[in-house]
Every structure is written in structure tokens, then in C-alpha cells.
Amino acid sequence: MISPRTLRNLRKELRSSALAKIGIVLVLAMLLVATLAPFMALHNPTNQNLEENNLPPLGFSRATEETTSEMQNGSLVIKNETVLVNASASHPLGTNSLGQDVYSRAVYGARTSMMVGVLGTLLAAILGVSVGLIAGFYRGRVDDALMRFADISLAFPSLVLAIALIGLWGRAAVDIPDPFVMLGVVDPVRSALGLSTGMPDSFVLPGTVIVVVGLVNWVWFARIARGEALSIREEEYVKAARALGASDLRIIGRHVLPNATTPILVLATIQVAAIILLESSLSFLGFSGTTLSWGFDISQGRAYLSTSWWIATVPGLAIVFAVIGVNLVGDWLRDALDPGIEGEGGV
């Protein structure tokens, strides 16, 4: 599927493009953070501590009005004082309104984004590529019917359809045990590093969100796969296979699909970026199954914008860096493989 020539092109493009290198570094960093979240986080991201809420990040302080009352000479004296809340070294990026560590929540949020981005894209690709290959390979009525259906799906914006489906179906989520915690390696490593122990032993996978983002984004894959199938079916090798008596399924699986992988791969990369943005929008609006998500944290931070700007700012920056990374990798693949598609799909 990946020919030596393709690899050569990828390497050549990577050597000449600084942006491609930045993209790969960002994506690898994010994958690393998402995978090793129990080791990277400073605190359990769900632990609340109302004594230490809205702590500013290192280098900043927060002014707050404090009211004290005391009895003086038999009468009550109420004093309003402006007090400065200082940053704490154990919360380098501050805490939110519940006293949860903003940095640790951003680390765990990477897991949600990556899981939804990758699994959602996979589902969309499986659905879309199947439909597209069948439509393009058989042409005629099948093609007309499937592509009209694609037109209809396209008439509902992804976000609108996703909100409707999740709002109506509910926000089902699956608890997945954290493999590192199960293996019992997290607490010893964290103690050795001098970090607090007791990380979450499971990870919430927002199942409905994954299914829905897959369902609302299949069309882009169908369009690309159909276009490829339409041209590949006219190739000599397909005609030869047919003359040899190969079944349709075999021709599609062995000849059409492998020759259509390049544009599908490029589209999939762009879609991961689009789905990360879509997931963050959904969780921002409260249509998600998990509270460990960048979008959710931004919606929480919004209420404290005038006093504690960091709560909404930090997860937003995390999204921007992650999506920039994926987009740069997408650009690299597109430029190196030149499948002739422009950036389709979005939130």
C-alpha cells in the first residue's frame, strides 16, 4: 500500500519543510501526553479543593475583595479589603473554580480529544469509504441513490446534526480502565518522582459522541472514495481481474481500495483536526459524555472570565496547538503525496 516511491516523497518533503517537522513534533507530543497522562499530570484532574480555587498561574496574581467582620468596643465593624491571591508552585497553570488543577485537566483532556478524533475518523472512514467505493464501482442507480443520500446528509451541518442526535439519544459514555493504573505502575513512579498519588483508575470514553461524529462526517470520505473508484474501475488491471473471473468484492477489496488509499489517508488527517474541533464544540455546549474535555473546561472558565482568565485560556491553547499539529501533518502528507484534494470538511 505504501510504495517505496511514496516513502521517498514523504521523506523529501519532510526534509525541505520546517512546518512539517513542527507538525510531527506537535502531534507526537500530544500522543505522548495523552498516552502517559497518569504520569504527566501533577494532580488527579478531578480532585476538588475549594480552599485553593481560582488560583492564578505562576507569575500572576488575582485581586479579590475580602470582607471581614469583628467586634470592636461592642459594635460590629465590617471591613472590605482587597487581597492578592498568589500563585502556587504546585499548580503552575492555576486552578479552576472547584480548585482542580488546570494543567492536569488539560493533560487528561488530550486523551478525550485524541480518542474521539481518531476513533470518530475511523468510523467515518469505514462508513464513507464503503459507501463511496460501492457507488463509484457500480455507478448507475446505486450511485445515484447513494449520492443523493449523501447530498441530503450534507444539508445538515455536522455540528447541528451532532447536537440534535446527542441531545436526543443521550450522552452515553464507557468507562475504560486506565492500563497503567491497572498494571500498578502509576503510584510507585509518581511517589518516586515526588508527585501526589491516586490518579483516576478509569477513563471516560464518550461513546455517543464518537458514534455521532462518525455518522455526521462520513460524507467527505464517500465523495473522495467514489471519485477514486470511478477512475480506478476503468484501469487495465481492473479489467484484467474481471476477465480472470474475480468477484466484485475481490476487485473492490484487492484492487480499488489499495489504489485509493493516498487521498483517503490525507482526508483522514484533515478530518482528525475537524473532529477534534467538533468534539470541543460539542463538549463546550454540554453535549458530551465526559467532563474531562477541553471544550467543557472552556465552558466552565467562561463564567470566571473577568477574574480568572486562565481557566478558559489554557484548554483553548491546548486545542489550538493540537489542531495546528494535525493540520501541519495533513499539509505535509498532501504536499508529498499530491492526491489532488483541497482541505475539505470542517466543524
Binding site: P157, L285, L305
Partner: protein, 332 residues
């Protein structure tokens, strides 16, 4: 095929898609757990009362009768009444529609006026500071979630500097002109100014992604066109560079840009929904989210039907413009 026949064919396809949209919206209720009765009936309703409500809503009819009733009512512009407020759904949706259309049009205008010059400058000054600035902007622009951008703009421009209101929509655009006509210049201009102040941040929030996207497309399209042999030929002929750039290269670049814009229309509407949520903009998006949360089926269906049909309609217009600019499309 003539241009007229092309439009007819597209129009017919559009009607088919609208029928599909309407049918999917109808089906949505049957792939959803629970019954609309739950949204209407009190929690302690007796089985008898629930039965009466179901009858009232026509839910005891066979499916095809419900479907035909729904289609028939829809053809007459009747989308039912809100379960919650009792307001006619069509009236509710059409009073909210202008706010969303205003927002979408304003951000498209922002995007188009900024991005095409930016893309051209970027392509014609390749590897110069202006190009690097434009490509960086467009990369960050397509990678930033618009709701977060909106919040950051509020934080900087509204909370810190008090330049813009944080949310809401004082007047509609048309309403402001009505005030101008009815109450004279001073209150009219004031209303327009308030309109502008309120729409500015939402329009920038929604428009940034598109500005970035079109800048990218224009840049790569221009670079490709400028490398074509016809450009070299016109250059050899001695045509001024500006004529080559704007009359020939840009015109050919805009054709694929328009295609992508048509495809991205859904992104614009989806973006409007979330932008409305950030700025409490009283449009279709806010209506949709409220309707979903309380299972107000008539409003939910009406909103989805209007969004879906609006999408089909605008796409038809895009197709018509596209075919006009590029006659090859008609021939195919």
C-alpha cells in the same frame, strides 16, 4: 445543455434533497428513545391522560398517516405549535431567522473582503514577510475553535477595554433602518451604531475561520495559476503584471474557491450555532439548543427544516453562479 435547462435540472434535484431533508427530520422522532408525550404530559400523568395527549398530537395514527399529515401541513407552512410556549413554530423560527442570516452574511462579508486580497498578496510575494504573516494567520485561523476565539475576544476587548458589549443583539439591521425612517436621523444612526457594536465580535468570531480558509485556498490557487503557461504567454505578450494577476490568474483561482465555499456552507451554519451560544445571539442556534434540551419537537423540527432547506437553497445559488462563471460545468 443550455444554462436554463441546467438550472431546471439543479432545481429539480434541489427539490428532491429538500424532500429528503424533511423526511429525515420526520424520522428523527422515531429513532429517538421516549415519546413526545413525555415532553407535554405532567410527570404524574395518568395513563388515560397520556393516551388523550397522544391522540391530541396525532401520535396514535399509523405512521404513514402521520408522515403524510406532516408533509401536507409543511406544504402549507404549518409546522405545529411549541409544546412549551404554544407559539406557532413557523412564526418562532422566522422571527429568529433574520438574526442568524445577519450573522452569517456579516461574517462572510468580513471573510471575503479580507481573505482574497490577503491570499493574492501572499501568493505574489511568496517567501516574503507578508507571505509568512498571511500563512501563519491562516494556519492559526483554521485551527482555532471559534467559540474559544469569541471568548478570548470578549476577554480582551469587552472585559479589559470595554470596547464592545459582551453579548446580545440590540437591534436587527432592518429594525434599525425602520427607526431611521420613523424617528429621524439621530435615533436611527444610534440604532445602526448599536447594531454594529453588537454584531462586530460575533461576526469576527465566526468569520475568522473562513477568512483563514479562503486565504489558504486563494494563495494555493494563485500560485498554481501563476505557474501556468498561459500566464507566461500573457507576460511574454507584454501585458502589465496587474492585469495578468487580477484579470486572468485571480479569476481562474476564484472558481475552485467558490466550490469549496459552497461545500463549507454547512460549517458556516454550524459555526453560527455555536457563535450564537457564546454571545447569547437570539438566532436559530439558540432556539435549536433550547428546543433539544426540552424536547420541544415542533420547534426542533421547524429549526432543522429551515436550516436544511436554507442550505439547499444557498447551494443552488452557488451552483448557478458557478455555472455562470465556468460554462464547462453546464456542458458536463
Amino acid at each position: 445543455m443550455s444554462y436554463g435547462r441546467f438550472l431546471l435540472k439543479r432545481g429539480f434535484q434541489g427539490i428532491l434533497v429538500v424532500w429528503g431533508v424533511v423526511s429525515i427530520v420526520f424520522m428523527l422522532r422515531f429513532i429517538t428513545p421516549g415519546s413526545p408525550v413525555d415532553a407535554v404530559a405532567p410527570l404524574d400523568a395518568s395513563a388515560e391522560l397520556r393516551q388523550r395527549i397522544a391522540e391530541e398530537l396525532g401520535l396514535n395514527q399509523p405512521l404513514y398517516v402521520q408522515y403524510l399529515d406532516y408533509l401536507w401541513a409543511l406544504l402549507h407552512g404549518d409546522m405545529g405549535y411549541s409544546y412549551i410556549s404554544g407559539i406557532e413554530a413557523s412564526q418562532m423560527v422566522f422571527t429568529k431567522l433574520p438574526a442568524t442570516v445577519e450573522l452569517a452574511v456579516a461574517s462572510s462579508l468580513v471573510a471575503i473582503t479580507l481573505s482574497i486580497p490577503l491570499g493574492v498578496i501572499s501568493a505574489t510575494r511568496r517567501h516574503q514577510p507578508a507571505d509568512y504573516a498571511a500563512t501563519t494567520f491562516s494556519l492559526v485561523g483554521i485551527s482555532t475553535p471559534n467559540f474559544w476565539l469569541g471568548i478570548m475576544l470578549v476577554l480582551l476587548l469587552s472585559v479589559e477595554f470595554g470596547l464592545f458589549p459582551t453579548s446580545g443583539r440590540a437591534y436587527g439591521f432592518i429594525e434599525a433602518f425602520r427607526i431611521l425612517a420613523a424617528q429621524g436621523v439621530s435615533p436611527g444612526l444610534d440604532a445602526l451604531w448599536q447594531w454594529l457594536r453588537h454584531i462586530f465580535l460575533p461576526a469576527v468570531t465566526l468569520g475568522t475561520y473562513f477568512t483563514a480558509l479562503i486565504t489558504r485556498l486563494t494563495r494555493s490557487g494563485m500560485l498554481e495559476e501563476l505557474g501556468q503557461s498561459y500566464v507566461q504567454a500573457t507576460r511574454a505578450k507584454g501585458l502589465p503584471e496587474s492585469l495578468i494577476r487580477y484579470k486572468h490568474a485571480l479569476r481562474n483561482t476564484l472558481i475552485p474557491v467558490i466550490t469549496v465555499l459552497g461545500l463549507q456552507l454547512g460549517t458556516l451554519i454550524g459555526g453560527a450555532v455555536i457563535t450564537e451560544a457564546v454571545f447569547s445571539w437570539p438566532g436559530l442556534g439558540t432556539t435549536l439548543i433550547n428546543a433539544i434540551n426540552v424536547r420541544d419537537w415542533p420547534i426542533l423540527q421547524a429549526t432543522l427544516v429551515v436550516i436544511g432547506c436554507g442550505f439547499v437553497l444557498v447551494n443552488l445559488v452557488v451552483d448557478a453562479v458557478y455555472a455562470y462563471l465556468d460554462p464547462q460545468v453546464v456542458a458536463e
